[in-house]
């Protein structure tokens, strides 16, 4: 039991998910994927587009996130994000729509490296979702 910690995912509109029995969370942090276990050091980081994996006793849940901030403190992981979708329920048409939108963005020339990186990340993830 001691291996579990609390996970909260909040949207601007509502609380998206709250779980007490999480054993591990894999977040697509800005500087690379990051696995968080119980008693992790307090950390603040932000997310890049990617797949968020939540492991608990009952198995594994996957979510697609576009951006967000994570904060881990006192064995509570808070994830603030404005766009998160459960991978099981994600709308195919949304994925393809979003994919073509982001590809259009990439073709613009006045991008700095950072946003170019984020956009290509997003495209990769979206492609992998749609190919599944």
């Amino acid at each position: 039991m001691s291996e579990e910690f609390k996970l909260e995912i909040v949207n601007p509109e509502k609380s998206f998910l709250s779980k007490e029995d999480v054993t591990e969370v894999l977040v697509p942090a800005y500087e690379g994927d990051m696995g968080i276990l119980k008693d992790h050091i307090s950390i603040i980081s932000f997310l890049k587009p990617g797949i968020l994996k939540v492991f608990s006793k009952n198995g594994e849940d996957k979510y697609y996130v576009e951006d967000g901030i994570i904060e881990f403190k006192d064995n509570t992981l808070s994830i603030l994000t404005s766009s998160i979708f459960s991978l099981d329920k994600i709308d195919r048409s949304y994925v393809s729509q979003s994919l073509s939108d982001t590809e259009k963005l990439l073709s613009k020339e006045d991008l700095d490296d950072q946003s170019r990186f984020l956009i290509s990340q997003k495209i990769d993830v979206l492609k992998s979702i749609s190919s599944n």
């Binding site: 509109e13 509502k14 603040i44 980081s45 901030i69 904060e71």
Partner: protein, 291 residues
Amino acid sequence: MASLDDLKKRILSVKSTQKITKAMKMVAAAKLKRAQENAEKGRPYSEKMNNIILNLSNGISDKENAPKLLAGTGNDKVHLCVVLTSDRGLCGGFNSNIIKKAKAYFTKITSEGKNLKIITVGSKGYDQLKRQYNDKIVNKISFKESKNINFFDAEKVSKIIIESFQKNQFDVCTIFYNKFKNVITQIPQAQQIIPLKSSETGNDNEKDNYEFEPDEDEILSNLLPKNISTQIFKAMLENSASEQGSRMSAMDNATRNAGEMVDKLTIQYNRSRQAAITKELIEIISGAESL
């Protein structure tokens, strides 16, 4: 005195007005419930966001080089005021209260010799401000088309604000909205969002040692624009709950007043009907007597 027919018409018209206000009250009550729920659901996000910002700004070692959104431009000359109002009327003193608060602030600012810029969100605020402050209004935004308050709208507003901040078009930004306390009470609020006021980020006696990835500055510069969207979104949610609450109590009053008016008019109607009958009787009797 009005004739019987006129009175009858009047009673009818008041009654139909009452029907409308009653229906509006019902609608507002239903919407209020939803708006209130939304406002409550949105709270954790903005609270958490505030907490993180607070922790971050405490963790920043080099205050001098802090992002401008946090520290300000160092000047205090141009004030941008974002006035959030509703798109619809018939909601009691809701809009007037915000405008009153905002106008008091405007007068203070201008008397101190500072420049004023206004962005109005919601058409009612624009209508009330354009007469006096037309030359100060730099932008007007209205979300009449969107049915529900959503985060995208808030992001649109904050984008406009941040863009003009980056062009150095203002130094201080304040938003005006109504804070929802309960159905009867809404408190007009002025909240400064740029630079972020340290008093509003809460107490800083518990300091945590966080690990940051990437470093504080980068997170902060990423987070602060988001925080502005969040604050605006929060204000919009509070505003919509306040609007419905205000409308509900205004319509409740209107319904009651209409009821009182109907009662009064009905008494008047009955009296004059009785008077007419009595008059006719007297005429008949006196006519019969004279024969």
